[in-house]
């Protein structure tokens, strides 16, 4: 588990990328207030997914408009799927993300 900045660093309906244990993780703050964390780089051509537009279900890569399910990371347009990370907030409203590396360390 890695503690990141405060949740209000991410505007409602947008995403921001964090470097966590050598991985780039895009954290999205959905308009219903919930959070999702996915691999930050589009598997198609390396697009920055945190710059993509989202709704409550999908993120759309800004480069070629490939869409991915925010919950499962599954591609909705024939690309490889994204890695999904666990994300939450702690008592101080800071983001907490669990990557593979950090979960291995903690376990």
């Amino acid at each position: 588990m890695t503690r990141l900045g405060p949740v209000h660093e991410i505007p409602l309906g947008e995403g921001r990328t964090y470097a966590v244990d050598g991985e780039m993780v895009a954290v999205f703050r959905l308009r219903d207030g919930s959070l999702r964390a996915l691999q930050a780089v589009c598997p198609h051509r390396g697009g920055p997914l945190a710059d993509g537009q989202i709704d409550l279900k999908v993120v759309v890569c800004p480069l070629h408009l490939n869409a991915f399910d925010l919950n499962t990371g599954c591609s909705l347009s024939g690309q490889p799927d994204l890695t999904v990370y666990a994300v939450d907030v702690d008592d101080d409203n800071h983001l907490v993300v669990t990557t593979r590396a950090s979960s291995e360390v903690s376990s």
């Binding site: 780039m24 537009q53 409550l56």
Partner: protein
């Protein structure tokens, strides 16, 4: 409790079986009994000509084999003919005397082949004379194939659709075929005389079938078996096979004998019930609806749906109101498509004809009140799908009528999906093959937009969309589902643009989230709709628009154009493409200071600084201290100009000054698509004004021509002349009005090159120049408000508008990844 109702169907052809399928699909709870005259399950009668031509085998034409009936609990009596319906006791009586009771009855007896009164055609002992065949049933076809195998010369009587298909099919079995047609030209039901003559030439020239028109067959010759036919004029044609394809007659005997109303067919109401009967339905070729008999398959599908809706109670208001008829000839190498009228009926009908006899091409469309009411294509079917669609759905027609007959400005030869290999690349932007598209269709996605979403085909420059559509139509075998979303402004809000705008005004919706909440059932937001809605709301509300930054595309969030590596490009404003040494010096200093990987001139006469990391953007803007050049938004982009009358010895107008004035006024105005403009100082057109969204051309005498709807990107189109005006002020007024009309009426991402032809330049001119709708003042005022609300977005640099607005989204990647070019060389 009432037990399950008994449904009896007389007829097991395409109409009867399809209707039962429709009833089952609606969960209709009946005990079903079907009576079929022919000893088979249900087969596709239309495919008999393919069977005859050897391109299909028998197994391939069966629609429902006998196990389907068993699986669905249907009792099928094959080879059993119903002789009478006892309406009082609600029973049907078979020729063998068996009685079957019904609660609901469907008559689907179809048609029989019609035999003209010709001497010697019948043999008193065995029906037809030996060697004579009808062409209606599987048994007819089997017999014909068996007999033709050992014979040489065939005559087909009847030059309609079926006769032509029979003639082509028989060529597969005999060496010589003659087609006799009693009327003056082939396919006279569907074609006019000229088209018929063109078809005759093709059938003779390309297929090698002899065709004789005005050929009244009077006698079949030959004692034991056919040896020839004799015509009314005494001509004798030697042959050993005769196929009669002279038309069909509905099978109405059982209905007439049972007291139902029979005219040419069995008379039905709009619910497909026999005249005055509550429990007896009629469907297919034997039904006469509003005076019409239908002999094609498409109307039958429509009828079956209405019947099923009504008899199952699924939709008691279901009504069949008649079908529009279109047909294609299924003969390899001979293209014929016909729909609606074959010739004009009134002087007011607009008729467009193209005829090229040397190639056997004939095309005709008939238009009434702006709608397609008839079309004929002979020798070139490429526009058939588009015409059938326009005809069936009453679509608006292109102002350029020739576009209905030819592909203008598109790729040269329209490839047929069936001719393309599976690995052929269809979408050159996103690299999608025909095979990938077909795969998605076969997996059950049958809307064009759905397939485009899943494969990304057609989502690049968009030029391949028509081909994608054709492939989807082909792969779905005509079962393409209409996509309701096709008419919506954005995919996530179920409304076309005018309704959407009205609703936005009615409820005073000023933010994208409020539009989703109020106008989408369930209130669900949609990522792909946000940008289009943001643009629309900004246009409608101006300063009162509630800007939610997440609705913006990344380019609009950071006022720069995202590049392939996640860096951005920066294009400062340079009105009219005119700059100064001071500006150039500052740009050069900035480029050096930030080690800008590439400095490039754009097609719109601007300077582009490429490869800028997001976090550097505010600093660069501050150092440049120039306004945004808007090279990133769906908005007014640039006005390209030539040097005009100030310098050019040919210039007749001050194009540079006008270009600067236009850009000054309309900078940054957002719209449904990009707006690229140009002003050129003379008709030599160095600024390419003819191929811009709006292009202005100075002509001698101090006048200006305004062209709209031009393009020179993936799509190339010369703009249409909107107006010729006397002053630069008038150019500015009309430009504002046209752009506002476009902003309010174009669909999202619909560029002017699509918008102008969709409405027609006459309509656009009427509104924009002649104020036919009385909205010119409103348009001008709306544009004034937008111009007034303009703020240079590059001022948004001291303080980020949102947290981390300019934070990198790829923190572990060293940007730029694009190659760095120095002093024009290759890095």
């Amino acid at each position: 409790m009432q037990s399950t109702q008994r449904l009896v169907v007389i007829g097991n052809g395409m109409a009867g079986a399809r209707t039962v399928e429709e009833i089952l699909a609606r969960g209709g709870d009946f005990t079903i009994t079907m009576f079929g005259d022919e000893p088979y399950g249900n087969y596709n009668r239309i495919m008999l000509s393919n069977l005859l031509a050897g391109v299909e085998d028998e197994a391939g034409i069966f629609l429902n084999d006998l196990s389907w009936y068993a699986d669905n609990g249907i009792t099928l009596h094959v080879g059993t003919r119903i002789e009478k319906i006892d309406r009082t006791h609600k029973v049907v009586i078979a020729t063998d005397g068996t009685r079957t009771p019904y609660d609901k009855l469907i008559i689907a007896t179809g048609s029989s082949s019609w035999t003209p009164p010709i001497k010697g055609i019948h043999n008193p002992k065995r029906g037809f004379h030996q060697g004579v065949f009808a062409f209606r049933t599987l048994d007819d076809t089997r017999g014909m194939i068996r007999y033709a195998r050992d014979h040489e010369r065939a005559v087909v009587i009847g030059g309609g659709l079926l006769g032509l298909e029979a003639a082509r099919g028989l060529q597969n079995h005999v060496s010589h075929v003659t087609l006799l047609h009693a009327m003056g030209h082939l396919m006279n039901m569907q074609l006019d005389e000229r088209a018929g003559a063109m078809l005759k030439a093709s059938v003779e020239g390309k297929l090698g079938v002899d065709v004789i028109v005005d050929a009244m067959t009077t006698e079949i010759l030959g004692k034991d078996r056919v040896t020839g036919v004799k015509l009314a004029d005494g001509t004798v044609i030697d042959c050993d096979v005769v196929v009669v394809a002279a038309g069909i007659r509905p099978n109405t005997q059982v209905a007439a004998d049972s007291g139902l109303t029979v005219e040419r067919g069995i008379v039905v109401d709009d619910q497909m019930r026999a005249d005055g009967e509550d429990d007896i339905y009629v469907v297919g070729e034997c039904a006469q609806h509003r005076g019409e008999l239908y002999g094609l398959v498409a109307p039958l599908w429509d009828q079956a749906k209405v019947l099923a809706d009504h008899v199952t109670g699924r939709n008691a208001a279901a009504a069949y109101t008649g079908s529009k008829l279109s047909t294609k000839l299924k003969v390899a190498g001979i293209d014929v498509a016909a729909m609606g009228l074959k010739e004009p009926e009134t002087d007011a009908d607009e008729v467009i004809v193209y005829s090229e006899p040397r190639k056997g091409i004939y095309k005709q469309v008939i238009i009434r009140d702006g709608l397609l009411v008839g079309a004929t294509l002979v020798g070139d079917n490429r526009k058939a799908a588009a015409l059938i669609q326009a005809f069936d759905q009453g679509q608006a027609l292109p102002e350029e009528r020739a576009e209905m007959l030819f592909d203008i400005g598109g790729p040269a030869g329209e490839v047929k999906p069936e001719d393309m290999p599976d690995d052929a690349q269809v979408c050159n932007c996103n690299g999608v093959s025909k095979g990938a598209i077909c795969g998605v269709v076969n997996a059950g996605c049958k809307t064009v937009n759905g397939v485009m979403d899943k494969t990304r085909a057609g989502k690049g420059c968009g030029t391949c969309k028509p081909l994608v559509q054709r492939i989807v139509e082909w792969a779905a075998g005509g079962e393409v589902e209409e996509d309701p979303a096709a008419s919506w402004y954005v995919p996530g809000v179920p409304m076309p643009k005018p309704e959407l705008m009205a609703a936005i005004r009615q409820y005073g919706l000023r933010s994208v989230s409020s539009v989703f909440a109020k106008l989408v059932p369930g209130g669900e937001e949609d990522a792909k709709s946000k940008m289009g809605l943001a643009s629309l709301l900004k246009m409608m509300w101006g300063e009162d628009y509630v800007d939610e930054r997440d609705s913006r595309f990344i380019n609009d969030r950071v006022h720069a154009n995202i590049q392939r590596d996640g860096t951005f490009s920066v294009v400062p404003q340079m009105k009219g493409g005119v700059t100064t040494p001071a500006q150039l010096r500052r740009i050069a200093e900035v480029a050096e200071k930030y080690a800008v990987p590439m400095v490039k001139l754009t097609g719109g006469q601007r300077i582009d600084l490429l490869g800028i990391p997001k976090e550097t953007l505010p600093k660069i803007w501050a150092d440049l201290d120039m306004p945004s050049g808007y090279a990133y938004a769906k908005s007014f982009r640039t006005v390209k100009t030539c040097v005009g009358s100030d310098y050019c010895r040919f210039g007749v107008g001050d194009s540079t000054a006008l270009g600067i004035a236009l850009e000054e006024r309309f900078q940054g105005i957002e719209g449904p698509g990009k707006m690229k403009l140009a002003v050129t100082g003379c008709p030599r057109n160095c600024a390419e004004a003819y191929v811009k969204d709006l292009g202005v051309v100075a002509i001698d005498g101090g006048r200006w021509e305004i062209y709209v709807g031009g393009a020179a990107g993936a799509h190339i189109r010369k703009g249409d002349l909107l107006a010729t005006v006397d002053s630069a002020d008038e150019v500015i007024t009309l430009t504002g009005r046209f752009l506002q009309y476009y902003r309010e009426n174009a669909n999202w991402l619909e560029r002017t090159y699509a918008f102008v032809p969709r409405l027609g330049i006459d309509r656009v001119r009427a509104v924009v120049v002649d104020d036919s709708d009385g909205i010119a003042a409103e348009l001008d005022a709306a544009m004034d408000a937008s111009v007034g609300a303009y703020r240079d977005p590059w001022k948004e640099r001291a303080e980020p508008v949102t947290p981390g607005q300019f934070r990198t989204s790829l923190p572990l990647v060293v940007l730029p990844q694009v190659p760095v070019r120095v002093s024009g060389g290759v890095a």
